[in-house]
């Protein structure tokens, strides 16, 4: 058992980067992420962490530096939020396509204008198709543990894709909770040093990344561009299996399990379940307990991994449910909540599927209290009775 301290979500991420023996950190400050990289630079300055900290002039450069370091064989870490993540967008594609297993802490924050620094998941969900794996966590301990797990998954030879660990602004980033810190030695057993797939430091046998690949096979290349995109897709699909294996191994070693692709809570005999991402998944379990005491057959599902998307797992866990509440801390303008569209698409292939109620809530950090989640669940029980389901997402708590 490691040392237990009381600390914030951001410091939990910094402690995880230290425990993972990260070699290179390149980052640019942005609220609410800044205290992650401040803590890391403090570790490095004090000589407690043997890493190279590259100071850069923007998040675009931060990710470019991370890609270079990762391709050269370094275990690489960075952190960002909202506009910083948006500025990285081009380089996010680059990192995934060059198969650089960079791990990044994303502290979810609303996009401006108008300026708002509170929690909202649109920043990371907008990066859905860049090839990055995405984990959404509910506690400071889960931030720490997931960063360690994510390096194992990302660096796996069958995966080799980058990963972001997303946590809610302030609700986790600046809130203190107990954290068990695993030592570098304990972590090293679980996470051995990184072995890169190519040795670009071998100057006698030089190779170039980022060359041209044509639509069809040409010259020395037996395949075209499309085949390399298929390999990236395979890497993501392999990650589904790897995440399950690695989460089990982590539990055996350290005694904690936060779920693999999803986490289910009291769903097996339930009529209704509520799906949440991030910190609200923790509160949902509390609400489920309260309602269970009153006799409601209700459960909770945490959507822990958003890419690769757990479609089989969603189909399996919702079997037997009459209705599913999907609570989205995001909106895809002109349609509905982003996780709801993905979940509905996964359910479509089933003959018998639960009704899906989508709530848009908590946008820009608006508070979502236990009684709010309870009202969403009660609405689902009402609809089972009446059968009157509205197809559009409901903006929960909107002032009119």
């Amino acid at each position: 058992m490691g040392k237990v301290i009381i600390t914030t979500g951001n410091y939990s991420a910094a402690y995880a980067a230290k425990a993972a023996k990260v070699d290179v950190v390149a980052a640019y400050p942005i609220t609410p992420q800044t205290s992650i990289i401040e803590k890391i630079s403090e570790f490095i300055e004090k000589g407690e962490m043997k890493a190279e900290y590259i100071r850069v002039e923007s998040e675009h450069s931060a990710m470019a530096a991370c890609i270079g370091a990762s391709v050269a064989g370094a275990r690489t870490f960075t952190a960002t939020s909202a506009h910083g993540l948006a500025l990285m967008h081009e380089m996010l594609h680059w990192a995934a396509a060059t198969r650089a297993p960079v791990v990044m802490a994303v502290v979810n924050r609303a996009m401006g204008p108008p300026w708002n620094i509170w929690s909202d998941h649109v920043d990371s969900l907008s990066q859905r198709d860049t090839g990055w794996m995405q984990f959404y966590v509910e506690s400071n301990q889960e931030i720490f543990d997931t960063i360690i797990q994510a390096y194992r998954v990302a660096e796996d030879p069958e995966v080799k894709m980058p990963a972001m660990i997303c946590s809610d602004a302030f609700i986790l980033s600046h809130t203190s909770q107990p954290l068990e810190i695993l030592s570098e030695e304990e972590v090293e057993d679980f996470l051995p040093p990184y072995e890169p797939p190519f040795d670009i430091t071998d100057v006698d046998h030089p190779v170039t990344h980022g060359n041209i690949v044509w639509p069809e096979p040409r010259g020395d290349s037996p395949v075209g561009y499309m085949e390399f995109r298929y390999l990236m897709h395979q890497g993501q699909l392999n990650a589904k299996r790897k995440i399950k294996e690695i989460v089990k191994e982590f539990e055996k070693k350290f005694g904690r399990n936060h779920g693999d692709l999803i986490e289910k809570y009291k769903v097996d005999d339930a009529d209704v379940a509520i799906v949440s991402m991030g910190a609200l998944a923790a509160q949902a379990k509390y609400v489920v307990d309260l309602m269970r005491e009153e006799g409601y057959r209700v459960g909770a599902i945490k959507l822990r991994v958003f890419r690769p998307f757990p479609d089989d797992e969603i189909r399996e866990v919702t079997k037997g449910l009459k209705a599913l509440v999907v609570a989205d801390r995001n909106i895809s303008y002109g349609y509905k909540g982003i996780s709801a569209t993905e979940i509905e698409s996964a359910l479509y292939s089933l003959e018998k599927r639960p009704l899906v109620l989508n709530f848009i809530m908590g946008i820009g950090g608006r508070d979502v209290k236990p009684e709010d989640q309870r009202k969403m669940i009660e609405a689902a029980f009402d609809i089972i009775e009446t059968g009157e389901l509205t197809k559009e997402a409901e903006w929960y708590g909107l002032l009119r």
Binding site: A97, T98, R99, K160, P197, F198, H205, P206, V207, T208, H209, G210, N211, V213, S221, P222, V223, E227, F228, Y230, L231, G235
Partner: protein, 93 residues
């Protein structure tokens, strides 16, 4: 659809190329300005060789720099970096 294939298994994860001379063709034809070295001013410091992004400056300590005009694309970096101002960019067209 997702049958495994020996072709895909043999691929590296991401495209890699091995640098080869003239892989992009004779890039000298891209040039409009040509670097011309005045060997009387040249101190044989080797910076033009170091900075040339196309590796088209051939350099020995004894003979100093010589430019391979078949591949020199005329970017002018060597002229910019030369501390002795020994390289002039001369219009070719």
């Amino acid at each position: 659809m997702q049958s495994s294939s020996s072709l895909l298994e043999k691929l590296p994860l991401t495209p890699l190329s091995k640098p080869a001379k003239g892989a992009m063709g004779k890039t000298g034809s891209w040039r409009t300005l040509k670097p011309v070295i005045d060997l009387n001013k040249c101190t044989k410091c080797g910076l033009c060789w170091l900075y040339c992004p196309e590796a088209t400056v051939i350099f020995t300590k004894e003979e100093g720099p010589k430019i391979d005009y078949v591949y020199c694309k005329g970017c002018g970096i060597c002229a910019e970096e030369c501390p002795a101002k020994a390289i002039d960019m001369v219009r070719e067209f």
